[in-house]
């Protein structure tokens, strides 16, 4: 059977996954050299979870993540050098070196950040999806969080609202089986996270997170569902991180065999094998991509290393927005590029809110059903 995927799509996915892999390996190396400090959570092993969904949505759809957040912006198209510079704490980073590894933001590419409080981004995503409905846009919001975040109150509070108000948001739980060093099954009454969606009358499904194409298909379908106004979707991407929770984690809580077994399931060779089998691409093409990506990552490290630390004047900026102050456009600021696709919103006079979140009859029916009025 012919593959439903184009060669371009497969090569793009491969390039992005390989970029994330190489980028993260070098980030790990730079951490050991003392160039990167603080907490540094690598994405190695989970590449398919970032890349598949990104190719299944539109570039202007919103995306946000937790603190394991290097993979998604790279998938979205962020500048690798500027992401690396942010990890290095340099002024040329996306957040001028103020955020570091856990807080990558690239608004130009509609990546709304990495968040350091477990589950803290879950309500934000619902709010962004709310804004889309409020403005009658057909945008979806994709929100990543880890398996352990599913035990936060924010998860439950938000799912209730998102489902009740049919917000166009796709939640992707990256279930890599461990919340830091604690296996999710040890702390969860229902360790299958997707099942929790049912409690809020919401669609919830498991997906093979080690397969880029399965992630692609699942999110493509979920996005169509959201855009049709049917409400939010929870996808549980079953994945695995090949490395510890952070650079300081020896991962003694799992066996070597377990890691070795999972490595056999590596999403990157898997995609390559698929493309080769389907005769959609040849080894030489993959080798060329690998060489290009290696050079790209080398250049990213060099760019970060040669970049200056942020100016001390930056200390007093970006805490409070001064009157008339514009937003900072990183690629314009750092690379001098003209950024044209910066988000624009309708003014308060242009905007017409036509959405009726809870029509009166509906509210009255609900009251009646609950026995509150007759």
């Amino acid at each position: 059977m012919a593959s439903p995927y184009s060669k371009e799509l497969l090569l793009t996915m491969y390039r992005k996954m390989y970029l994330i892999r190489r980028f993260e390996e070098r980030a790990g190396q730079q951490y050991t050299l003392g160039k990167i400090a603080g907490f540094c959570h690598l994405y190695i092993g989970q590449e398919a979870v970032a890349v598949g969904p990104n190719e299944a949505i539109r570039p202007d759809d919103y995306m946000l993540s937790a603190y394991r957040d290097h993979g998604q912006p790279l998938a979205r198209g962020s500048d690798a050098g500027m992401v690396m510079a942010e990890l290095f704490g340099r002024g040329t980073g996306y957040s001028k070196g103020k955020g570091g590894s856990m807080h990558i933001f690239d608004i130009e590419h509609h990546f709304y950040g990495g968040y350091g409080i477990v589950g803290g981004q879950i309500p934000l995503a619902a709010g962004m999806a709310f804004a889309s409905r409020y403005r009658n846009e057909d945008r979806v919001t994709v929100c990543y969080f880890g398996d352990a975040a599913a035990n936060q109150g924010a998860f439950h509070e938000t799912f209730n609202m998102a489902s009740k108000w049919k917000l166009p948001v796709i939640y992707i739980c990256e279930n890599n089986r461990y919340g830091m060093g604690t296996a999710i099954s040890r702390t969860s009454a229902v360790p299958e996270i997707y099942k929790r969606a049912a409690a809020y009358g919401m669609r919830g499904e498991p997906v093979d997170g080690m397969d880029c194409l399965k992630m692609y298909e699942a999110v493509k379908d979920a996005a169509a569902y959201c855009r049709a106004g049917k409400g939010p979707v929870l996808l549980e991407a079953n994945t695995y991180r090949f490395r510890g929770h952070s650079m300081a984690d020896p991962a003694n809580y799992r066996t070597k065999q377990e890691v070795e077994e999972e490595r056999k399931n590596d999403p990157i060779p898997k995609l390559r094998d698929y493309a080769l089998k389907q005769k959609l691409a040849e080894d030489a093409q993959f080798d060329a991509i690998e060489e290009e990506v290696k050079a790209q990552v080398d250049a990213a490290v060099k760019f970060a290393d040669e970049s200056p630390e942020p100016s001390l004047d930056e200390l007093w900026r970006d805490t409070i927005v001064a009157e008339g102050e514009e937003d900072v456009r990183p690629r314009e600021r750092v690379l001098g590029m003209k950024v044209t696709n910066w988000p624009k919103y309708p003014s308060g006079q242009e905007l017409k809110v036509t959405w009726d979140l809870e029509p009166r009859e509906q509210a009255e029916q609900a009251d009646k059903k609950a026995g509150l009025s007759r």
Partner: protein, 328 residues
């Protein structure tokens, strides 16, 4: 000028701003069909519809965070907290997200949002419902904190808050909602960060905000009968503090009493004292006195409740102390 209740002034500000800007929406518990737990949002659901006046589930963290998300992409949410005691559940979203988004994103994002609701003792509600929590929020860079005392300031500051490009925390008062005062109609905007001399005086400065303002005015009236001229400075904004106004008044009277409903330790008043001692030391003729809520949890019993809070007699005693007229 029409006389309005504090809650009516807030309602007017909300309605005017929502009329002016379709990006503004109000979300909170009981704001819609119930017309507001304290009737601040009365009539707004009928006027603006259910997408803009949103009855939220009892999920303070959830709807606070959802609103922050909406603000990140261009909307201007007003989040009503039924009381600030409940907002403690939402503090993670306010402090870890709203206050830090601009910074974490290196200036890419802004978060124009208002969190508002009543603070302070409501009256016979015991400890969980009787906290003046403004010092908590005044602590965080990235937030602005306002606490108007009069209906006119309530309207003017809420309008400023909705138009501000930053997260603004607004402390109203359960016992202020029914108070009446003159409120200018239409475009009445009070700038954030500006204190107001509500009563001029020469002998002592009484610095306060929110509900305590009324006790201070009562004390000032009584002191005037004894020939003591007290200036009452209503801070109105607690972050950023209006240092200029504070110092100007201290330089004029040389003696200061600071009155706040919350607890003394790490209170806003402590920071005001710090500004005074470091920038107007040579203008002080007496140590600064503070009148604060007692360092205990609020009780239900009427006598205990009253004794816990500042009142006019306590303020008068403090004024006499800084004037060295104790026992006079």
């Amino acid at each position: 000028m029409p006389e309005l209740m504090y809650r009516e002034a807030l309602n007017q500000a909300l309605a005017e701003e929502m009329e002016r800007d379709a990006n503004v929406f109000l979300i909170g518990e009981e704001v819609g069909r119930y017309n507001g737990a304290f009737k601040v949002s009365q009539g707004l659901l009928d006027r603006f519809g259910s997408a803009r006046i949103i009855d939220a589930p009892i999920s303070e963290l959830g709807f606070a965070g959802m609103s922050v998300g909406a603000a990140m992409v261009g909307l201007r949410p007003v989040v009503e907290m039924m009381t600030w005691n409940f907002a403690i559940l939402a503090m993670d979203q306010i402090v870890n997200n709203a206050a830090k988004l601009r910074h974490m994103s290196g200036g890419q994002l802004r978060c124009p949002i208002v969190f508002r609701g009543p603070g302070g003792a409501g009256g016979r509600l015991s400890s969980q419902h009787s906290q003046a929590l403004e010092a908590n929020y005044a602590h965080f860079p990235g937030l602005k904190v306002i606490a108007p005392a009069t209906p006119a300031d309530a309207k003017g500051l809420l309008k400023s808050a909705i138009r501000d490009e930053n997260p603004v925390i607004m402390f109203e008062g359960e016992r202020l909602y029914a108070l009446k005062g003159e409120v200018p109609e239409g475009e009445h905007v009070v700038p954030i960060g500006k204190a107001d001399v509500k009563r001029e005086g020469t002998d002592v400065t009484i610095i306060t905000w929110s509900r305590m303002y009324y006790f201070c005015m009562e004390a000032a009236e009584q002191l005037a009968k004894e020939g003591i001229s007290a200036e009452v400075l209503d801070l109105r904004t607690l972050r950023p503090l209006d240092e200029e106004a504070i110092l100007a008044s201290v330089r004029k009277t040389n003696r200061v009493v600071i009155v706040e409903e919350g607890w003394a330790l790490a209170g806003v008043g402590a920071s005001v004292v710090d500004i005074i001692q470091s920038k107007a030391f040579d203008d002080l003729d007496a140590p600064v006195e503070r009148v604060t809520g007692l360092d205990v949890n609020m009780s239900y019993a009427a006598n205990l409740e009253n004794a816990t809070q500042p009142d006019a007699p306590k303020i008068i005693a403090a004024v006499k102390k800084v004037l060295y007229r104790e026992g006079a």
